[in-house]
Amino acid sequence: METVTLTIKNQPDLFLEADTITPDAFAGKKIEEIADLHVYVGREQHRLGDFFEISGKAGATPEETKIVVNGDLSRVKYIGMKMTAGEVVVNGNADMYVGAWMQGGKITVNGDVDAFAGTGMKGGELIIKGNAGNYLGAAYRGDWRGMQAGTITVTGNAGSDIGTFMNGGEIVIGGDVDVHVATHAEGGRIIIKGNAKSRLGGQMVEGEIYVLGSIDLMMPGFAYREDVDVDVDGIKGRFALYEGDLGERHRKRKGQTIYAKLYQRIEA
């Protein structure tokens, strides 16, 4: 695998839209060609090279291309958007839409990301070592096809609205989450190692939520069923199982109604 290193040298005075920072856009290109890729500040078009020092070498294909982005990227949007393969490492905080609509490959952010990371994700791996903003792994507005597959791992906390319209894949949050988790979800799994506030599983059809810490307020549509032993993805212990959303439609399998499941840890 070849590596291209970008180091931000000029901060945009508004925000930089850099959806070209992907292995797909870099693969097979010379450094000069990569520097010529388009980025935008408002309605102005610029070169990637106007904002970044670029060094190293791109692979022939996205699979063989790794991108390392250094510096304060908290005003840079769309890093890794729609990428299909290869690797992106962000050493710093990044703005919105990291890994949005990504289909494959791996993104590691050694810092925080703002909202809409992993929007409409179809595959691949998104690792955030800091905190994530709102709408992590959620669907784009209006789309009933949210996260389909892949994994998102956040070491710190996440904001509100994670996993909206989730259909598959997994989101693991190391810390706490804000309100509204897995709204309208029809599949997938969300693991919250810290505490949750309220509105977990609202309008949820299918899928699983695990909460290891506290929940401020349970949805009225989630009913306690029983205590169960859980051993999933390294999460072990005794959990209280709730099913819901009782107000929502659910399909039946062999005469049994299939509900979404919410597990809250009682003891490790």
Binding site: F116, G133, N134, G159, S160, D161, D178, V179
Partner: protein
């Protein structure tokens, strides 16, 4: 004395009428530079009706006149009609929806008898110039 209440904002007919009559006019201040408190909360605050109070949240503070709730009882809930006074203290967090959290901001209310209630134009002007306490 200070009390903690949950602040909501919204329309009132006086707010609407005075807004249309001119936001630079005293009637607008009279309609919107107020906080409606439940009688029980007045008691806790230990203040008379029509006393100026300072309302403080995590996001700012503002001087308004405390009046008795017109659509109550609602103990623990306070109401400032929508407008620049309320917007000094409401929670601007949009939760990435575009919408500030105009309703449901925890605030402290304390008596500030001798502080003036500014007109809407004064309030934003002073605020923008950093001339407010």
């Amino acid at each position: 004395m200070a009390i903690r209440v949950n602040l909501i904002t919204g329309r009132t007919i006086q707010q609407g009428v005075s807004m249309e009559a001119g936001k630079e006019k005293p009637a607008y201040t009279a309609a919107c530079g107020i906080i409606e408190l439940d009688p029980a909360d007045f008691k806790k605050l230990g203040a008379f009706r029509n006393t100026n109070v300072r309302v403080t949240s995590d996001y700012g503070n503002v001087i308004v006149k405390a009046v008795e709730a017109t659509q109550g009882p609602h103990p623990g809930v306070a109401y400032i009609p929508m407008g620049p006074w309320a917007n000094m203290v409401i929670n601007p967090n949009t939760y990435s929806t575009g919408m500030p959290t105009f309703k449901g901001t925890p605030v402290t209310v304390e008596v500030a008898k001798n502080e003036p209630v500014f007109s809407s134009l004064e309030l934003v002007r002073k605020g923008c110039r950093g001339e407010l306490a």
